[in-house]
């Protein structure tokens, strides 16, 4: 068993050649409470290197309609922070895949920042992404996270200055999340993202030197991922995955179809 705090780093250390790391986002409790653990294990089997587990929030203001929808369904399904920790514990019985909790700061505050970090670490969580606690507000959670061995992953955006990118890099651990477009989450046309992303990634490469770089927002296919992530360490897919679940759920084959989609995201369309 690897130690908790190094799981994310190991993923990047152990990658071979030009392989792109794939991080998948899924909302905890979507499409139902029972499926989350099976989805995570299945994502891993089909190529996921990292899991971002979304902590649903009623007012996800950085998210587009897809993740808003998944969050609302999960809340209606009765998701709670305790249940999210239980899900992580269940995954840990079978897998070492790094799990990063991603969500808004208010549910964390309500749970109690100290208790949250302690219980998350005990359950087997490796890192945190809290988009509405940027560097300016990071003191609300950074010490507790560090004390519990949790990585904190901050974001850089196309309008972040060079100086700010350096600060984000210095304060992040695990990796730096590069938001490829100015906008909310959601699948977009690959070309739309590619147009704006090239210059941005060039600046990221100049300024983010300590941590690996994953690029997210808008990726919906293997070709998008190849194109958008070619100069970084890998890519993140969220909304497109939830769209794929939404398309078939609750048909009998929904989970198999989602796993096929995941495999294709990572490896492309393998014919024959």
């Amino acid at each position: 068993m690897t130690t908790k705090s190094s799981r994310i780093q190991n993923v990047f250390d152990n990658r071979t050649g030009e392989e792109k790391i794939m991080s998948l986002f899924i909302t905890a409790g979507y499409p139902d409470l029972e499926s989350t653990v099976d989805l995570i294990l299945g994502f891993e089997k089909n190529g996921a290197d990292l899991i971002e587990l979304g902590m649903p929030f009623s007012d996800p203001l950085a998210d587009g309609p897809t993740i808003q929808y998944a969050s609302n369904v999960a809340i209606k399904n009765g998701i709670t922070m305790k249940r999210i920790f239980d899900m992580v514990r269940a995954v840990r019985k079978e897998s070492d895949i790094p799990i990063i909790l991603m969500g808004y700061i208010n549910p964390v505050i309500r749970f109690g920042v100290q208790d949250f970090c302690r219980e998350a670490a005990e359950a087997g969580v490796d890192g945190l992404i809290i988009p509405d606690a940027p560097l300016e507000e990071s003191s609300i959670i950074s010490k507790e996270a560090k004390d519990n061995g949790l990585d904190i992953i901050y974001l850089v955006a196309p309008n972040s200055t060079d100086e700010r990118m350096k600060r984000v890099d210095a304060q992040s651990s695990g990796f730096v999340y590069c938001v490829s477009v100015t906008g909310v989450t959601g699948a977009r046309s690959g070309e739309e993202v590619a147009k704006s992303v090239e210059k941005f990634i060039e600046r990221v490469k100049e300024n983010v030197k300590i941590n690996p770089k994953l690029v997210g927002f808008g990726i919906k296919s293997h070709d998008d991922a190849k194109m958008i992530a070619r100069e970084t360490d890998g890519f993140i897919v969220g909304s497109a995955l939830i769209d794929a679940i939404r398309k078939d759920y609750p048909d009998q084959e929904w989970m198999a179809n989602v796993f096929a989609f995941v495999k294709e995201l990572k490896y492309g369309n393998i014919e024959g």
Binding site: A62, I109, P131, D132, G183
Partner: protein, 403 residues
């Protein structure tokens, strides 16, 4: 006691801050810089104050309410008449101020959110006056309740976008406005309508409204040669209240009361009494008191007033509540509607239902006052926009109509 809040990071005690996605940080920094420049820029200040005088109609009157005073038979009651501002509420002070700032920053597109529609109308008005494109986000339920204001905004040339998510009220309109801002941050200025949101908005909006309190102070000095004993204002997000209170915060003899919408009662689930019932948390970019469940999910607020059913409140009010410099109370829908009737019949002024919450608190306060004391109520808006709600309420109270 010298009052200097907020600090440089935008905190009022432990409330405030900039809890926003990375993409908005550069926009907030740019805004803060532009705003700070305007504070010492005599050209900007002159333009703002000229507009308040020539276009908004300031100073608004301070009116002695003799029949309302007689009704209670205690302290003298004065009304600060923000309902006499152009567009019918205090909101225009801030809309004009922020639009001038947008012009200075070279932004060419304006967005705003609105609950009761008063901020939307004020923003649409300012945009029409200066020829700006304007998109207003409004909850579908509020569009139904405040149809008159929707029609006004459209006539003024604004696009009103109906928000169908969540509670279909101000909270969700604000989420959508923030999403728009995140997407179009390069050319778009977001005119926030209350003392909420990330720093510097709560400070900036307060300062664009402080004219309300400053005028009250000098007007009362002229009329009574003294300061007031009590100030009362309604509080949703809290913009009219903070503008009214702020110039008096260091005057410790002036007692200040913020009145929240308790809806069906602060002890029920149908309430918007954030300070009475809420706990600290983060919504829409700042730390403040909130109505949220044990999982931190934001709860739906209820009030008969579309302007007050917001589950949060400005961070400065949260601070003033904790420090007890301002006292906050909740009044119910029923109490507010009784006040609509009382003020209409005694003073010939039909208050907005928001404002009526402030008046409703007089029933509690006035028996505790003395005849030589002075109470000033901030009359934050007029009730024309609420006539549909008001008529239905009293029709239902009198039983089904005959025939």
């Amino acid at each position: 006691m010298k009052y200097t809040a907020p600090d440089k990071k935008g905190y009022f005690g432990k409330y405030g801050g900039k809890f926003v996605p990375e993409i908005l940080i550069p926009a907030l920094e740019e805004l803060e810089e532009a705003y700070n420049e305007t504070q010492n820029d005599p050209v900007f200040q002159k333009e703002y104050h000229d507009l308040l005088q020539e276009y908004v109609g300031r100073p608004t009157k301070l009116t002695y309410a003799n029949r309302l005073t007689d009704h209670y038979g205690r302290a003298k009651i004065y009304l600060k008449r923000e309902d006499l501002c152009h567009t019918g509420a205090h909101k225009i002070n801030n809309a004009i101020g922020q639009l001038l700032l947008a012009m200075k920053m070279g932004k060419n597109r304006i967005i705003a959110e609105t609950g009761a529609g008063q901020h939307g109308v004020a923003t649409a008005t300012a945009c029409a006056k200066f020829g700006f494109d304007c998109v207003i986000y409004m909850g579908a339920e509020d569009m139904e309740r405040q149809k008159l204001n929707v029609d006004r905004m459209r006539l003024l040339g604004a696009e009103v976008r109906s928000v169908e998510s969540g509670s279909k009220t101000l909270k969700d309109a604000t989420n959508e406005a923030i999403r728009d801002w995140v997407t179009n941050v390069e050319n778009t200025f977001y005119i926030i309508g209350s003392v909420v949101g990330p720093h510097p908005y709560p400070m900036m909006t307060r300062n664009f409204h402080r004219v309300i309190g400053e005028e009250t102070k000098s007007q009362l000095q002229k009329m009574e040669a003294r300061d007031p004993d009590y100030l009362i204002a309604c509080v949703g997000g809290g913009s009219n209240a903070i503008g009214f209170f702020y110039p008096f915060i260091e005057d410790e003899n002036v007692k200040m009361i913020g009145v929240e919408a308790a809806g069906l009662g602060a002890d029920t689930d149908q309430t918007a009494a954030t300070l009475t019932k809420g706990t600290p948390g983060v919504l829409h970019g700042s730390m403040s008191y909130l109505l949220h469940d044990t999982e931190g999910q934001i709860q739906l607020a209820h009030s008969i007033s579309a302007g007050l059913d917001y589950p949060g409140i400005g961070p400065e009010h949260s601070f003033l509540h904790d420090t007890k410099r301002v006292h906050y109370y909740g009044v119910t829908d029923q109490q507010a509607m009784n006040a609509v009737k009382l003020v209409s019949e005694t003073e010939g002024i039909i208050p907005a239902i928001e404002t009526a919450h402030a008046f409703a608190y007089l029933d509690t306060l006035m028996p505790l006052t003395q005849r030589d004391e002075i109470v000033v109520v901030n009359c934050s808006g007029r009730g024309d926009k609420d006539m549909k709600t008001i008529s239905e309420w009293f029709r239902n109270q009198q039983g089904p109509a005959e025939g």
